[in-house]
Symmetry: C2
Subunit: 169 residues, 2 copies
């Protein structure tokens, strides 16, 4: 694998004190990313963190984070779903899902009803309050997605969606 | 945003007990992803987790994880780099980077020398052992990247790299 020659150019953040690290931080520091620039995993991770930060900011007013949003969307689209099917679908560990559902239930957004098919299982549902919150969340998430399309380019966003859906097929 | 009609089809994992969740788990359960299927963030996150899991498995024999790999690569490409420039470049919080460097130093892979420019700063370097480990890590990481190209399609991988580099430009 060839060492990438492209550089990541940094500018000092506003208000950073010059010379803090002993370098000319009021100017520009060029750091070579090396082979990282050739690794899809590295670039995907940085991008994913950026996307999640934007999503979290956008839904801050209704206090819904990415994993909570996923859970609400999938319960909303599949009322009566079991916890284990929800965990499998989202790739969330069972213990983490239980904590997520505990918090959503405490906020009055979801509920666990006894399963009509299995006494050891639950059927998950949104409460009316949960449905209202999900509706608001979807509206806000759509503005996040529009900003992403603007920043990435609508065509690039569409192409990436296509590659990723194909990957999971 | 339109509700997606595409479904994620799950098959029961090998050895899963049929009927565990009260559904026909020996068959197929169709769960509707709802609008998640339209969110790049959701698909990117699932993909990123898959890529990291493959990377971790691939480099398990030398016990190097993704963040450790990034740190070794960037120090290797920029000997004498300061901790704060490394943190900025990788988007890692200072406290987390300190813990990462503590562990790499304890393993004899990196060292913090006094900066020639600033007494409060350090100049980071790989030890000879660190250079050897990085070389092995790069070889393993290249096989991971080749597997990714195979699974995603070489053209799709290349296109995604292009979009992501463009995003950070």
């Amino acid at each position: 694998m060839a060492v990438a020659s492209r550089k990541l150019t940094q500018t000092a953040p506003l208000g950073a004190s010059a010379g803090r690290s002993g370098q000319a931080r009021n100017g520009r520091t060029e750091i070579d990313l090396g082979v990282l620039d050739e690794h899809l995993g590295y670039l995907i991770r940085r991008f994913q963190v950026w996307v999640f930060q934007d999503f979290i900011r956008t839904l801050e007013s209704i206090d819904i984070r990415p994993a909570q949003y996923s859970v609400l969307v999938v319960i909303g689209a599949n009322p009566g779903l079991s916890q284990s099917d929800l965990a499998d679908t989202l790739g969330i560990e069972r213990a983490r899902l239980v904590r997520l559902l505990d918090r959503l239930e405490k906020r009055g957004l979801t509920r666990r009803l006894p399963s009509p098919r299995d006494r050891r299982s639950h059927a998950l549902q949104l409460t009316p309050e949960g449905q209202k919150t999900l509706k608001r969340a979807k509206t806000l998430a759509a503005t996040h997605e529009a900003r992403l399309a603007e920043k990435l380019g609508a065509e690039s966003r569409k192409a990436m969606l296509g590659f990723l859906r194909e990957f999971w097929r």
